[in-house]
């Protein structure tokens, strides 16, 4: 017996918060704004918990709610507002509303002095709205609503400091790059429509289940299109470029959107449409390769970044790569597991970093920090938990999920082992740059003297603490139980040749690698702080390459953006529009005017000329009337016209 879960409340409450704060926030007292902004996600969280409780109490999943009025119902296309609640969305919802709520609380402290306080919270609520829609969506189009919507919220929040050109630029860049991904998503949807005639996930799944022999072919194309969408949203190669710039936004935004929730939407989407991916080994391997490559690629860049948030951003990209890798090896539950733990520790990392920045009075450069451990103890300890979690030390959360992915990859034949190796290298790098960050920030001596760091208020530290607990214990549920729980929604991956011994071996290896990374960071940034500089000087090309992020932005700029603009401006604008089309119109007009000028000369003003024309006309008329033209023209076979004749 399914009770009514009122799922619609989950997105709608934040939306209400957005509307109220957005329209009236400027005039409302700050406390009221805060109350509204916090209450909305809190109640949503409550509804989610209620749903969780109901599912625990025997609610049959998937459970769905459909708005009685359809959304788009035109011609052959039928799309409803339908929300689906299953294990997958349950996990996502918990993460989104839970972590989201925590970050809201954090923001109250972090943003308290900002001018656009109300604006910030309305955007945050808007984000919650779209994110929950994305998660709950029962069909691809509705998911696309959330998909684009979170992009919008991200755009607005990145550009929160819109007076800064860089912030506005970053927002725009995020939106446009995401749009390129959306292009893939859209085409994917068209293909779904063309091949399934529906966009509903359950119907697609049912149709696929009904034809078990259907693999590859168009499904590969669909999967690749969806993957393009996912790479855009989840900042994977080659569309990752927007995420580092997105750090222009306020830090809570980075935590919520660009670490915990929105950027994981790609992973979620792949998991949601896993039925299609499962039918296309090629697409899956592409997902895995993209994930692994991104993980390594971003990690290398992360090694040398000096902006605390940028390091975290590249780490996010890298971690998302892991999740893709997990998806690519059909370890969806592992990927989602990592998604969840990552949400905890990455949110924590960002929030702690935010706390640091807050304490440092807005300073984000690692090189100017140091020795903050004493000044900001709570921040330090929570951050430490997160660093250990991301580096993959047991028993922190990250350890369990990352290893689940690596283990699953290892089991996927030769390619899988290669991917596993990449993953391990990435883990090394991850540990290195995370501890680099850790050392540079908290340990050693303070490297700037004109700021006076202070610990953040409890509204910020509270969420930090909770997230720290989650970062520590979030993984204890274990992949086995987690996978079993998710299995109805995403299926259960089957690795061949797996064994407990192998698993333990791999775990040990991974932990060793993480330790190695820590050790290297310790050597370079703690014991011999000048070592890093020496290393950089030793490899100037490599260092420069990394520091400049492989010049990818520049390459994109010179291969896509500038040529497109130049093509538009010169070829289309000048040549086609002005010269050819404009010229054509001008030419026609010119011919008419020239004709006019010539015919005006006819009007010479001379009476005798006029008379001559009259005589000419008379002669012409006489000739026309009296010469039997038809017989004359008949001698020219060209003219078989019906000219006057007689």
């Amino acid at each position: 017996m399914n009770e009514h879960l009122n799922l619609w409340l989950i997105p709608l409450l934040p939306f209400a918060g957005f509307v109220i704060n957005g329209l009236l926030g400027r005039r409302l007292p700050k406390s009221l704004v805060t109350a509204i902004a916090l209450l909305a996600p809190l109640v949503s969280f409550g509804v989610v918990l209620n749903a969780v409780k109901a599912s625990g109490a025997g609610l049959v999943l998937p459970y769905s709610e459909t708005c009685p009025i359809g959304w788009i119902n035109a011609g052959a296309l039928h799309v409803d507002f339908s929300f689906v609640f299953d294990q997958l969305s349950l996990v996502m919802l918990l993460v989104v509303t839970g972590v989201g709520f925590l970050i809201h609380i954090y923001s109250v402290g972090y943003m308290s002095h900002e001018e656009g306080y109300w604006r910030f919270f309305s955007y945050m609520n808007l984000f919650m709205f779209f994110m929950t829609v994305l998660v709950l969506a029962g069909n691809a189009l509705l998911m696309f609503v959330g998909w684009e919507g979170v992009g919008l919220a991200s755009y607005l929040l990145i550009g929160f400091y819109y007076k800064k050109n860089s912030a506005a630029d970053a927002g725009k860049k995020a939106f446009i790059v995401n749009r390129i991904g959306d292009f893939g998503f859209l085409i994917g949807m068209f293909l779904l429509l063309a091949n399934f005639g529906t966009l509903s996930f359950s119907e697609i799944g049912a149709k696929l289940a009904a034809s078990p022999a259907w693999t590859g072919g168009v499904l590969t194309v669909i999967a690749l299109c969806l993957l393009l969408g996912a790479t855009g949203k989840s900042a994977q190669l080659p569309l990752y470029v927007w995420l580092p710039d997105a750090m222009e936004g306020p830090t809570p935004v980075s935590a919520l959107i660009h670490a915990a929730t929105m950027v994981t939407a790609g992973v979620y989407m792949i998991a949601r449409t896993h039925a299609i991916f499962d039918r296309s080994p090629f697409a899956l391997s592409v997902v895995a390769v993209v994930g692994a490559a991104t993980a390594l690629f971003a990690a290398t860049i992360g090694l040398v970044q000096n902006d605390i948030k940028r390091v975290l951003a590249y780490s996010t990209i890298s971690q998302l790569g892991y999740m893709f890798l997990g998806c690519g090896v059909t370890a969806y539950s592992a990927a989602i597991f990592h998604l969840m733990t990552h949400a905890f520790f990455k949110a924590l990392l960002f929030l702690a970093a935010g706390s640091v920045i807050h304490g440092m009075g807005g300073e984000q450069d690692l090189r100017k920090m140091g020795g903050l451990r004493k000044k900001m103890p709570v921040t330090f300890w929570t951050m430490t938990a997160a660093v250990f979690a991301i580096a993959g030390f047991p028993p922190f959360a990250g350890f369990f999920s990352k290893d689940a992915i690596l283990y699953a990859a290892f089991l996927q034949g030769t390619t899988g082992k290669l991917l596993w190796f990449v993953g391990v290298v990435t883990a090394l790098l991850t540990a290195f740059y995370m501890f680099r960050l850790w050392y540079l920030t908290f340990l050693g001596e303070s490297r700037s003297h004109d700021v006076h760091p202070h610990e953040s208020p409890w509204s910020m530290l509270g969420p930090l603490s909770i997230l720290a607990l989650l970062s520590v214990g979030g993984g204890w549920i274990g992949i086995e139980r987690f996978g079993a729980f998710l299995a109805p929604a995403v299926g259960r991956q089957t690795g061949e040749g797996g064994s407990a011994q192998l698993e333990i071996l791999l775990i040990l290896l991974a932990v060793a690698v993480a330790a190695l990374g820590w050790f290297m960071a310790h050597r370079l940034y703690h014991q011999r702080p000048e070592g890093a500089a020496q290393l950089a000087a030793a490899m100037p090309t490599g260092y420069k390459l990394l520091l400049n992020k492989y010049f990818v932005d520049e390459i994109y700029s010179y291969t896509f953006v500038k040529p497109l603009l130049a093509f538009s401006r010169f070829i289309l604008g000048w040549v086609v529009d002005t010269a050819v089309l404009g010229g054509l119109a001008w030419l026609l007009g010119g011919i008419a005017l020239l004709g006019g000028a010539i015919l005006q000369r006819w009007q010479s003003g001379n009476l005798r000329s006029y008379a001559a024309w009259l005589a000419f006309g008379a002669a012409a008329l006489l000739l026309f009337v009296l010469v039997p033209w038809t017989s004359v023209l008949a001698s020219f076979p060209v003219f078989h016209m019906n000219v006057a004749g007689h």
């Binding site: 008419a592 008379a611 008379a618 009337v625 006057a644 007689h646």
Partner: protein, 505 residues
Amino acid sequence: MNSVPDIYRILPEVILTLTGVLVMLVDASLPPGLPRRSLGWVAATGTAVAYLASIWQLSLPVGTGFYATVETSPFTVFFHALICGIVLVALLLSLDSLPEDSHHQGEYYALVVFGAVGMCLLTAAIELLVVFIALEISSIATYVLAGYRKETARGPEAAIKYFLLGSFATAFLLYGVALIFGATGTTQIYDIANLAPSAQNHSLVLAALALMLVGILFKVSAVPFHVWTPDVYEGAPSPVVALMSTAPKAAAFALLLRVVYEMFPTLHSVWAPLLSIVAVLSMTVGNLAALRQQNVKRMLAYSSIAHAGYLLAAFAGMGNAGIAAASFYVAAYAAMNVGIFAVVTVVSGYDENLPMIQDFRGLIYRSPLLGGLLIFFLASLVGIPFTGGFFGKFYSFSAAVGGGAVWLAIIGLLNSGLAAAYYLRLAFAAAQRPSDETGLTRSYEPRAGVAVIAALLFAVAATLILGIVPGDVLHAAQTGAHTLQPPPPTATEVIGIATTQPRVP
């Protein structure tokens, strides 16, 4: 037998003649120095009465009078009413724009009214002798009126150009009449119609057709007989241009219809393509030449050449459709052209310097009414729907398409698009905000008297009526078209000029 007294057949002409004489008499009896504006009212009243009389003629049975030299039929009534209407508007226009104290006002009004006699008679005549005399009456009146500002350099030049070329063309027309007389032995149009097909010397008939067309096409200013038009319109006073660009043209078109459809219906395969070619030439040449024109009157002259072309396109139509379309177009053209020249007259005055386009700049800001009317009439000339010009073009090209000349309609409508370019130049000059430096130095303070307002109202009303409810006028034109066919030959009228048989419509 025809029981209608002959005099009824020419009642409008008689009334107009008496009006003219009355104007002369009053003019002569008024002591010199007294304002002679009242003469205009006399003339206008007389014209109005003539208008009513011509409408009254509808109640007469269709038939001929004066030994088959004139006829009364819906066709003639249509053109009589049209011409009287135009003349009335032109008179009202002149009333307020003619300088009060000079210019032989008496002669002016008398000339206008007598000219109207000629034009009316021209449309009623079914005897080439009467046609010739009527044509001369209307021509001489317009020659003189064209040169009425004789103290200016341009006035007499306009008059002499018009006069010499007009006489030149008339000589051709007359030669054509001589040849048709030579071919058939008669100059009565019905007789010609009956005799010409069987004439022994068919080439004589054809040559006659060509030569007569020279004279008529000159009057309607069709290319290549249009050359006089711009110069004469430029030199003539604006109110006169309002008259001469419409009324004599209407009469000439009536004559053309009579000649081709009634006199030479069997030569349709000759004159229809001929007139089509002339139509294309006229509209193209007129429009192209007007494109670069800065002088408004010259521009409108070229425009009237183009309109002659549109009108001639209707002649490609079959029988009644063509006649009706052409008649309707004449009416529509007259309404809007009188209107636009009325506006030009009011804006630039009788003693105008040359009205240039830049002089119209910001007219709508100076005088919203005049500016609006200018734009309205220009819109009608362009052929915007719900104005007379639209339906004129519509029927004309409709007739052409009905007659199978789709190409003609396409060229014609493309031409009307081309024409929009220069009409709009004027319209938009009027609509443009006047900038200070252009300074309306040449501006003339419009004298908007009762008469001129009445004239404008008439023109606007006519253009609108023709554009929104063209049914009645079109019906009249169609009824007229039905009566414009030669009666079947009867034994008694094979040779001879007289027939007293009432004609069956």
